[in-house]
Symmetry: C2
Subunit: 206 residues, 2 copies
Amino acid sequence: MRVVVPYAASEPKTRLADVLSPDERSAFADAMLADVRDAVRATGREPEVLATAPVDADAPVTVDDRALTDAVNAVLADAASANEAVAVVMADLALATPDALSRLFETDADLAIAPGRGGGTNALVVRHPEFRVDYHGTSFLDHLEIARSVGAEVEVVDSHRLATDVDERADLTEVLIHADGASFEWLQSAGFALASDESRVGVVRE
Amino acid sequence: MRVVVPYAASEPKTRLADVLSPDERSAFADAMLADVRDAVRATGREPEVLATAPVDADAPVTVDDRALTDAVNAVLADAASANEAVAVVMADLALATPDALSRLFETDADLAIAPGRGGGTNALVVRHPEFRVDYHGTSFLDHLEIARSVGAEVEVVDSHRLATDVDERADLTEVLIHADGASFEWLQSAGFALASDESRVGVVRE
């Protein structure tokens, strides 16, 4: 099984602009990519980075500057002709662990899918030659529908770790609570810490 | 094993005040409680409601008007003296399924815990006589620390469904995407539907 990690190399994580400068967003995105790469490796598999531009990633990098959906579908088409399974794991899953990824990787389903909070698709494994992705909009529901249309059996993987893509300030809270890798360390060294108010725990930057 | 579902009977779900009237919040909280009750029953266990005031709940109801922590700790003390395990499952887990709850219920750990998004504790199973809860603040981390202090072995249950307590408008999105019970139907009949913008999917009320 191939494990592909798509990575937006230029101007990543724009929705963190309220708390991080452009250079910081790049550094934090790199740290998250490193965590995802390490978690994939700890499952015994070798990640491939699918980047929009050349990156220094300590893993094989394929550059494809097309939109995410087109770039991933090119990989799926290649793999289908080689009769090979493909996992696609987003690069901002800073909470991903080998256990959580193994639950995704080790099903027998034609499509194993880990929804992201808000209706996205954070990770999936494709074992059906006709399945293609469409990351626009509520992609989790769209992917269920696409699977139905090609007759692919689906298993949904229920994981908070895989559901947590780190896009916004509130997501940093999850990294500080549940992660301990490069992303966690980057946030700590940048001065982020947990802060409680009456209702829910958030982050402060010191 | 006892399965206790704490329920705040008066003025529930105040953080949904921007989208629901007080009566609507009560009705929606009732629907979520019914979904949690049904999911617990489908695991083969009988839920008990631990309410702050009398409620009509189609399950045994114990009324305890103390704060959540004190009311739950009274249950834990009772159960410890009877050498009985206790599960505590929050009443606003509208995405809970029998599968997700079974993963929590069926560990051998002294403490099985399902973190909520934002550092809360959405569900736990206590099999250690000295463990007590403290729901204030980042209760997930506090509960890990309390477990350590009494020598209780911990298993963390990684579930998006159990991590999703429905407190805020954004959480309604998760109900519309992943649930199909009374809460989902209540939201639909109240006019809520999924709506996409460029970044993440949210809800609109029609």
